[in-house]
């Protein structure tokens, strides 16, 4: 089976005030379709840098990265944007919905950049909002929704272009435990029922417990990589 993510010897060196900082040091990692991977580690461990590279928001200093069998480490900005648009879905800690913009318009946004015709955009956006259970909030503005609801809208937005991989960066970091639990359950449903591949960055063991596999980073290296039994649903 062709892996979704295949990272070989990825190194990232930052230059900070003339001092070079090795954020990632020769990472090898493979994620297969249908996996639900939690990336853990303390701050400064390199887990966020790793997610940015996998999410094609950042480039590795050295090493190769293949996404769904294509080497993407050498692509230019436009090609990277196109892959982000068509193959990747993002969910952020701070939801990152456009302010003063309705839920459905937020969900439509990635399709605008992917060039989906306006009529289809509306229909698909509504479908995805239904899928994450907030269709009734489609005309609400972000400031009229709770954090959990906003994050569900953001998840719907990450789904609209049928991505091969969803990247979630501390998706429950701003939520109370009840909302966090419900959002994690949504991720699990998407993974188990729809077979969507998910890579999630967190530092909370409770959140990581929902994943099938936990990769722990420390000082730019992978400390452990283990498959686990999921927390009971």
């Amino acid at each position: 089976m062709r892996p979704v993510v295949d990272v070989r010897g990825v190194t990232k060196i930052y230059d900070l005030d003339g001092q070079s900082i090795r954020a990632l040091d020769g990472i090898d990692l493979t994620i297969d379709p249908g996996e639900f991977v939690a990336v853990m580690g303390p701050s400064g461990s390199g887990k966020s840098t790793f997610m940015h590279i996998v999410g094609m928001l950042d480039r590795p200093t050295a090493g190769t990265y293949s996404l769904e069998g294509t080497d993407v480490s050498q692509l230019d900005g436009d090609a990277r944007a196109d892959i982000r648009s068509r193959r990747l879905g993002f969910v952020f800690q701070a939801y990152n919905l456009l302010a003063r913009t309705s839920a459905i318009e937020n969900v439509e946004l990635p399709m605008v950049y992917a060039g989906v015709p306006a009529a289809d955009r509306r229909r698909i956006a509504l479908e995805k909002l239904e899928e994450v259970g907030v269709a009734q909030l489609k005309d609400h503005l972000p400031n009229q929704m709770s954090g959990g609801q906003q994050q569900r809208v953001a998840i719907a937005r990450s789904l609209v272009n049928d991505p091969g991989l969803i990247l979630a960066d501390e998706p429950t970091g701003a939520l109370d435990s009840k909302a966090a639990e419900s959002v994690m359950r949504l991720f699990r449903d998407l993974n188990e029922q729809r077979g969507i591949t998910i890579m999630l960055v967190t530092h909370e063991p409770d959140v990581a417990a929902h994943a099938k596999r936990v990769v722990t980073f420390r000082d730019g290296h992978i400390l452990s990589d283990a498959t686990q039994d999921r927390k009971a649903a």
Binding site: D78, A81, S85, F90, N96, Y113
Partner: protein
């Protein structure tokens, strides 16, 4: 991404910040409105000057007698008695001359029934209506035969008609006394209004120039020759020809000054319209400066907007926006601000122009080309001043933009 999607993205971004968008546009609105109003006033003033000059007649040249020196005192132009009707006939034979009308001027008291009025009596030829482009309101003009016989016929200007026939009765066929001499009214002139110098041109009575000379002034010379050139292009040539013809007829040789003067109304028109053009230029320049200031306002706000929306830009990039798409969106926002501002400015300018012509009673003309130029220029302002902030936005790294606090 297609144009429609770009436009709708930009529009939504602007609508999210309504009051700021409006305030940003204000600079362009004021700039464009200023352009429209000043150009409208400038063009209006120039057009009305041109109309006044055109109302003096088509391709008109005026030959006046020169100055005469009496005991060392020079009388100035028109003082000499050197032009004769024969000069006029000679000028009429020149190629390029369409018509000539001599003018003999006198100021007399006229009486009609119980009314009387003092006015200017102009002795002219039948060609006068053509030379001065002055149509009749009623009746007929006098003929060459009337000139030959020095007939006692008159054509009245509208001011004279109003003052001698206040009851509104038709003056045609009635008899008036000019300096005690009875004349029959054969026609009335169409109203012409004020001249460029503020004179009431309708306050006049026209009679055959022969009648004026024989029965009113008792002179054998005329006060001027009105000459109409056959085309506007030939005015300068005709002017030279008249000068050399009259020099020959009056036996004037080189060092001697001419005893006449040929004036060309096109010179007057050109001077007037060039003054107008300079004014227009100045006003439009001031207005253009205010437009540029408006453009700087747009650039300022767009720069603030790029900084403020850094995270939004990062998000858009993460969701698949190319750098070019971001550039296009911010550029579109700037152009939209300036073009919508420009269009509102045109409307404000038109209303302002109407107010000016209504309140100040100035004649104004809103040139379509000016309106189009103002809108295009404001779009250009948007592109020019919007490019830098838009480029700045598009060069952001997605990851740094997303992390921006």
């Amino acid at each position: 991404m297609n144009t429609r999607a770009t436009l709708s993205l930009a529009m939504r971004a602007l609508l999210r910040n309504r009051s700021r968008s409006l305030l940003t546009m204000l600079g362009v609105i004021i700039g464009v409105a200023a352009v429209i109003v000043t150009v409208a006033i400038g063009v209006g003033a120039r057009t009305s000057v041109q109309q006044q000059i055109a109302s003096l007649g088509s391709n008109l040249l005026i030959v006046q007698p020169g100055s005469v020196t009496t005991s060392g005192a020079r009388t100035g132009y028109g003082g000499a008695s050197t032009l004769t009707p024969a000069d006029g006939l000679a000028v009429a034979t020149l190629p390029g001359v369409a018509a000539v009308s001599p003018t003999v001027t006198a100021r007399e008291q006229i009486v009609a029934g119980t009314q009387n009025w003092q006015t200017t009596i102009d002795g002219v030829a039948p060609t006068y209506t053509f030379v001065r482009s002055w149509p009749l309101a009623s009746g007929t003009f006098f003929s060459e035969q009337d000139v030959a016989s020095a007939a006692k016929v008159a054509v009245l200007g509208q001011t004279v008609v109003q003052n001698l026939y206040p009851d509104g009765s038709s003056p045609i066929g009635s008899s008036i006394l000019i300096d005690g001499v009875p004349f029959t009214v054969v026609g009335t002139l169409a109203p012409l209004g004020q001249s460029g110098m503020g004179q009431d041109q309708d306050d006049t009575v026209l009679v055959p120039y022969t009648s004026a000379m024989e029965r009113l002034t008792g002179q054998t010379t005329v006060s001027a020759l009105d000459v109409s050139a056959s085309s506007a292009a030939s005015v300068d040539t005709v002017q030279t020809e008249i000068t050399s013809l009259l020099e020959q007829r009056h036996r004037i040789v080189a060092p001697q000054p001419d005893d006449f003067q040929v004036r060309n109304l096109q010179d007057v028109a050109a001077a007037a319209s060039s003054t107008g053009a300079i004014m227009e230029f100045l006003l439009a320049g001031v207005a253009a400066v205010s437009l540029i200031v408006g453009g700087i306002g747009i650039m300022n706000i767009m720069l603030v907007s790029v900084t403020e929306r850094t995270r939004e830009i990062g998000l858009r990039m993460a969701l698949g926006a190319r750098a070019k798409t971001i550039l296009r969106q911010f550029l579109t926002e700037a152009v939209m601000l300036s073009t919508v501002g420009g269009t509102i400015g045109v409307c404000v300018g038109i209303v302002g122009t109407l107010l000016v012509s209504l309140l100040a009673k100035w004649s104004t003309v809103i040139p379509i080309s000016g309106v189009i130029a103002a809108v295009l220029f404001s779009a250009l302002v948007g592109i020019f001043f919007g490019y830098y902030p838009a480029r700045k936005a598009s060069l952001l790294s997605p990851i740094e933009a997303l992390r921006f606090e």
